[in-house]
Symmetry: C2
Subunit: 298 residues, 2 copies
């Protein structure tokens, strides 16, 4: 075993149920008829002892409380060595506020994402004397946690919603939205919770991967509009959808990837209903629908 990964949260921002949403999925989750899912986060470890958390979701306190491998090992000793954030979205950074409490760890992000965080004095709750903010260059390997090397690479995306101006480019390729490559003993795993398009560069990079966690925000591009919950398409939100000719299921169909797992699923996504036709369809195409607490080893 060279990599253990635990999905701490399989849902996109808002979670399942989302606080103010009365859609079918959210109501089913409130009634316990389908499993509730917390917001986007993945824990990874090369040995089961030392862990990195990829994205600090607003639900991180509950997520850690549900994950015995991440419990404190002493009065204030933690198996979590580092936290990495892949963009500045609230579902990926708000949990940093929970990680105050004078607990040492390293916070990894690109310079651009570190800047977004630093513009908010509230994140000074992460005392600089114990939490080291380390900027990571694109495509430069670094030690994510002892004995596990990672590389950040750009994927098409946009700036966080709360920083959007009048004109929003939704397929920016740069430091604001990144994927994570984990290389360990000749095997490779990728974590890409947000991705606006499967570019030729990305296809080339991911082909042959042993494990992929990929953006499963929406089933259909106009899902929010159809369900009467918003006016934005998936594309406008910087996410490619699962279904359709431009979707991720079709996009990855001809590629060699050992295991493909959807994460970051919006509460409207029908695959979150275990008995839905869409869930069956995605599984039939070789995808695993991620869920909270799911562990995958490589």
């Amino acid at each position: 075993m060279t990599l253990r990964a635990i999905i701490l949260g399989a849902a996109a921002g808002g979670g399942l149920p989302q606080w103010n949403c009365g859609c079918e999925n959210c109501n089913l989750a409130r009634r316990g008829e389908i499993p509730a899912q917390t917001q986007s986060s993945l824990a990874v470890s090369p040995d089961g002892q030392n862990w990195a958390i990829l994205n600090a979701s607003p639900d991180i306190r509950i997520q850690l409380g549900n994950t015995p491998l991440l419990f404190p090992t002493g009065l204030r000793e933690m198996p979590v060595q580092s936290v990495l954030v892949t963009n500045g979205d609230i579902d990926h950074v708000a949990g940093l506020l929970t990680l105050r409490e004078m607990q040492p760890f390293t916070l990894f992000a690109t310079n651009s994402i570190h800047d977004v965080i630093a513009e908010n004095p509230i994140f000074d709750a992460l005392n600089a004397s114990v939490v080291k903010r380390r900027p990571i260059l694109l495509n430069e390997p670094f030690e994510l946690v002892t004995n596990l090397t990672a590389t950040l690479f750009p994927v098409p995306g946009k700036v966080p919603l709360y920083l959007e101006g009048e004109h929003v480019q939704t397929d920016l390729v740069g430091e604001q939205t990144v994927g994570v490559a984990l290389h360990t003993q000749g095997k490779s795993a990728y974590y890409i919770p947000g991705c606006a398009a499967l570019t030729p560069e990305l296809r080339a990079q991911l082909d042959g991967a042993d494990l992929l966690f990929f953006d499963g925000t929406l089933w259909q591009d106009d899902e929010m509009v159809r369900t009467g919950l918003g006016q934005k398409t998936g594309k406008r939100m910087g996410h490619m959808s699962m279904d359709g000719p431009e979707g991720s299921i079709a996009g990855f169909a001809d590629m060699q990837i050992g295991r493909k797992v959807f994460v970051h699923m919006n509460n409207t996504n029908p695959v979150l209903r275990p008995n839905s036709a869409e869930n069956a369809q995605a599984c039939a195409k070789g995808w695993t629908i991620g869920r909270d607490g799911m562990e995958i080893t490589l």
Copy 2:
């Protein structure tokens, strides 16, 4: 019935268990041997239909999901009309980030607390076109929710930890830490989740109240030091303790208050163990130990 109050979260910042804490209480809560408690928040309503949330804790999504009275009443209709924050501490404002999603409500706070929030662009996630930030003057009644009037008043406290400078005054009386008075049909309820000292002014104001929710952060002033978890006393953190001659139990002993409920309890507080001697002692002195989900009507 003129007031319904539900304790959404009975714990102080960090919650029970706190993510990185291996103290006795946190370990018991992780093992399910004592009830876990989420972070500081109270919901109040004059009619059970329209609600205000007092303090937006980081756990607010989970708290709302556990409280059927606060479930959406339609696709995007909510019984929550307003949110009020009593200081700028992370345990009281971080949940505002969860309340994004284009849901209309009014955000009440003093000007000073609004300023603390506004200094952080991440809170622009609360779109100004739907979330109205309304500044409230001290000692001026306002409509908190339809048919429920509230007044904010200063209580001794300090600025949020993440804004502390080199010299920290822990008994500031002004706009940075407030209590909430609720007056309804001749009865009065008070909510004071943080309070550094019981001043003569505060005693005069609270004497004769029908219901009081009060700061129960620590049992003993040096509790964090004794348990090896920190170097700060309760006083340094801006909280009076329950026990001792200067504590809240002694301080309120000679006052006429209909019902006294401790909230905002730190994970180290022994009253969080239902069978502890300290819990029994507080109850014997006429206090109720708040817990998540407890409803109190007036």
